[in-house]
Symmetry: C2
Subunit: 140 residues, 2 copies
């Protein structure tokens, strides 16, 4: 199947491909804006339907910088030896999650930013946009 | 040697450790702010002294979103099986580079976002802040 390419000559991935790739890695990077400047932190995540769910440390800072605010989440993979790779970017708004089922979903998450022992909250990123690009096609 | 830990109980890395780790991976993630929302893109980079240098596609968008603007650059590594990992975040301002020596430095870069064939510019991220954290200590 032919894929469209963008102006960087990267293959444009479909939403389904993006969601599959997002869910294929345990660790992604969350970006938010703090006083006009971007911040990037690694977070462990799960894909739940078309949303991305992760844990964040509970507190005023999380609430001020994440909830109801535009955030981005990105996952990539790159093999320089084979010159192949992909990157998926999700942009949307973060919202708190309080249903028991989702909390169970992330309870097992290995967590980078918010160890289970600490007071954490579950956050859902509801995408406005999902973009995925693949760098060249594997030969196989 | 004992290291300080932060409130997430992650080990706090020194500037020297951060620069060494930054240079140990070919691919990092650049974040910038576009109309109030963060965007994350993978970029290949080199560490030059205390700065991070990478290529970006030449054009009005790059100039408007990167140059003279607050940006962030992040590199991490994570081994969930061993529960070890690290993440380094550089925050600062991006500036164009026009000296021949630095252009040569990045000319060999495998480039994700801006293939060599395209008109690209070299950008230097001059850090205001560099933060590094290590998740637990390897047993060895």
């Amino acid at each position: 199947m032919d894929h469209a390419t963008d102006r960087h000559e990267l293959e444009v991935l479909s939403l389904e491909e993006c969601l599959t790739l997002l869910g294929s890695r345990p660790l992604g990077r969350l970006a938010y804006v703090d006083r006009g400047a971007p911040v990037i932190v690694p977070v462990n995540h799960v894909v739940d339907g078309r949303t991305v769910v992760f844990r964040a440390l509970q507190g005023a800072k999380t609430e001020a910088l994440l909830l109801g605010r535009p955030v981005a989440f990105q996952v990539d993979d790159h093999d320089p030896a084979r010159s192949v790779g992909w990157s998926v970017l999700v942009q949307g708004t973060a919202e708190p999650v309080d249903d028991a089922e989702t909390r169970r979903l992330v309870a097992e998450l290995d967590s980078w930013a918010a160890p289970t022992a600490m007071r954490s909250m579950v956050v859902r990123l509801r995408p406005d946009e999902v973009h995925g690009r693949r760098l060249r096609r594997p030969a196989s």
